[in-house]
Amino acid sequence: MDKAHIKNVVLKHLGDSVEGLDPATVDTSLSMKDLGANSLDIVEVVSSSMRELKVKIPRSELAKLTNVDELVDLLHEVAAAKLAS
């Protein structure tokens, strides 16, 4: 599972959750809150992405994330580890 695919999945769910947000123009160095997401939107994006990618990331790790890029990186790491196991 390459990182570009994971990023597309995250951005699709971000666009689905945050009204008026165009996934094509999102600055992924920003946090989801900075992009207009509230707590429920963030939960929706993370839950939906994990479900679609069929991976589970530890909740303790999620709390440390500061922007969209870090979420994509973490999902990529967990997916790669799952594939290797």
Partner: protein, 407 residues
Amino acid sequence: MSAPVGIEKIRVEPTTLALDMRALCEARGGSVDELRDVMMISERGVCAPWEDPVTMAVNAAVPMLTDEDRRSIELLLVSTESGVDSEKPISAWAHRYLGLSPRCRNLELKHACYAGTAGLKLAAEWARATGKKALVINTDRSRMHFGKPYELVMGANATAVLVSRQPRIFELELERYGLFSHEVDDLTRPTSRVETGNSETSLLSYMESLTGALEDYCARLPEPIDYDRYFARNIYHIPFGGITLNAHRAALRVFGDVSKAEARARWEVKTSPSLRYPARMGGCYGSSTFIALLSLIDHAPELRAGDRVGVFSYGSGSCAEFYSGRVGHDARAAAREADTGGVLDARKRITVRQYEECEREHQAYIDDGDYRVSRDGLDGWYDERYRGRRRLVFVGCEDHFRRYEWS
């Protein structure tokens, strides 16, 4: 076939004070749009200085119980995350002031917002086995959180639930349930004053627990179900109303993809009527699913006796349960007797300043061993609403022993 068992009566004690949450939100510089659309909260209950989790528990049950109920109750469970003593359970005071028989087991249960449901399910199994009645009371109040983001989802209230083989309101399907337990650092009350946590961790844990408990519920059934057809209505634990919309979409997604718009349309029918009373109470803690059930019965006129309702309960820490029951044959009459709307309307509307004074007063005496609660303030509310009306009130502490009396 085993005897039916479930909820015979419910009564809500939403405190006698109500704070307009829009006023609080504006005072704190928060988003009124988010309060309305995401939090879905319009008012919250506030404990008067002379009330506490013990008085709320007792005052919830007193008007509901008949002499025959009191004689028949042989199990009293009080669930709370707002215990007033690490040794003595709230149930001991509740047992005394409710006038229950000495031949009654009483204890306090703790598992965050799941404890009320845990009490209900344990009591129902016991009632089915013994034929006796059980009383389950959930009582909670938030701590002082001035200016914190989660101040807008706090509250204070209690709910009394009579469990028996006469399930007028809700007949439990005890064989239909699903569980999901996992340890998580989401919310905590580590001292008598602190109540804190990570809201996003908690919301993620809630969602993971919902899908886990629902999948377990389905795995115990003899055949696959169509979620939308199987449940006439759905209740989800309500730390604040907006989460139930995400919860309903997450539940539907267990069975197949669903758009945000379609999920919202289904939620409007299936779940939104259950939010009407909770929206007027703020944080309902372990009482939320019981209050939601009363709200559903009072605000979904097409609901019929025998209709199946799915209920999801989540407690931080964590434990979750998805279970179901059927609307009882006499649910509407029993809900009318509870008069939840009337009790909510009868509350005194207080200002943000009065709310802050009440919270400061509670915070001031919480660890004090010798204290007498003032009954002044709140524009003479004690004299107007309490004096001579036989409500249990907290007098104060003497050498750390809590004292109560009837108003």
